[in-house]
């Protein structure tokens, strides 16, 4: 049986950059998100700041690379630099800035930016993941 490919700690390239496809944030995304969470937009046409972040996780699966073998999403920091509006088209660019090997797996720190259709970085932050090592053959 062929198992889907995975990207292990050993495969992660330090300073490797990954760009996702873009997507347009619509009123439907905001309505569905606000209904699900009750985290409402501050004014009509605004996009709650956590929503683009959530969308970048899905976009991160649509890149020409197998998914990272994440054991745990440990934490992150996030900065909203400028507002995102309904109708904006965003993508994310991420870069591995730290790799630290541990006994079981390794810690990977990734910088992520959310970029809009004008090329402006609207949100950015740093994510810390615990990633599995390649199982012994």
């Amino acid at each position: 049986m062929i198992q889907p490919a995975k990207f292990y700690f050993e495969d992660v390239a330090l300073h490797g950059v990954l760009e996702t496809p873009a997507m347009t944030i619509t009123e439907a995304h905001v309505t569905l998100y606000a209904g699900l969470t009750r985290d409402e937009p501050l004014e009509p046409g605004a996009v709650p700041e956590i929503l683009p972040l959530c969308l970048t996780t899905g976009l991160g699966w649509r890149v020409p690379q197998p998914p990272l073998a994440v054991l745990a999403f440990m934490g992150f920091e996030w900065h909203a630099l400028s507002p995102v509006r309904v109708g904006d088209t965003i993508f994310s660019r991420s870069k591995t800035v730290t790799k630290r090997s541990m006994k079981d797996g390794g810690v990977v720190i990734e910088e992520r930016e959310v970029i809009n259709q004008r090329g402006e970085t609207v949100h950015k932050g740093k994510f810390t993941f615990l990633v599995a090592k390649r199982p012994a053959a």
Partner: protein, 149 residues
């Protein structure tokens, strides 16, 4: 009509709030997977997850964060928020289907900005489950309007 929102001047360092609880359901996780496009097996494959460390599907970490943001708005009168500035966040434990989470929050810092009409309020937040275990915690910075003169 008086503005029911709480301005930068009204909010005091040391204030604490606790939100109502909310039970996280399978439906929440399915909708969040559809909305975000994050179909990681951790959240979507019940059979695979039986043999995992968690024993069952768990909620997306960011779903917990987003639900917490909604619960916070039910914990206190709304702030006169102009913008969300940023956050620092840690995922401490899984949120499983049927878990009831709530947020406990405390205002830790108030910082005036160079613009006189607003300030940054830092709120420390702890997300607890029904067993009072901390599942997520962190700090959020909000830009809040000053009371108009």
């Amino acid at each position: 009509m008086t503005d029911p929102r709480r301005f930068f001047d009204d909010i005091q360092v040391g204030e604490e709030y606790e939100s109502p609880g909310r039970t996280v359901t399978e439906t929440d996780i399915v909708i969040f997977a559809g909305l975000s496009g994050d179909y990681n097996i951790l959240h979507t494959d019940a059979e695979f997850m039986k043999s995992s460390l968690f024993g069952e599907r768990i909620a997306h970490g960011l779903l917990g964060l987003a639900i917490q943001a909604g619960l916070f708005t039910r914990a206190t009168q709304p702030y006169a928020t102009l913008a969300f500035v940023g956050l620092r966040w840690k995922f401490k434990g899984p949120i499983k289907i049927g878990d009831t989470i709530r947020v406990r929050a405390k205002v830790t810092v108030k910082k005036e900005t160079s613009k006189g009409d607003r300030g940054v309020v830092t709120v420390e937040r702890t997300v607890l489950n029904q067993r009072d275990e901390v599942v997520q915690e962190g700090e959020t910075d909000l830009m809040v309007e000053r009371r108009p003169a």
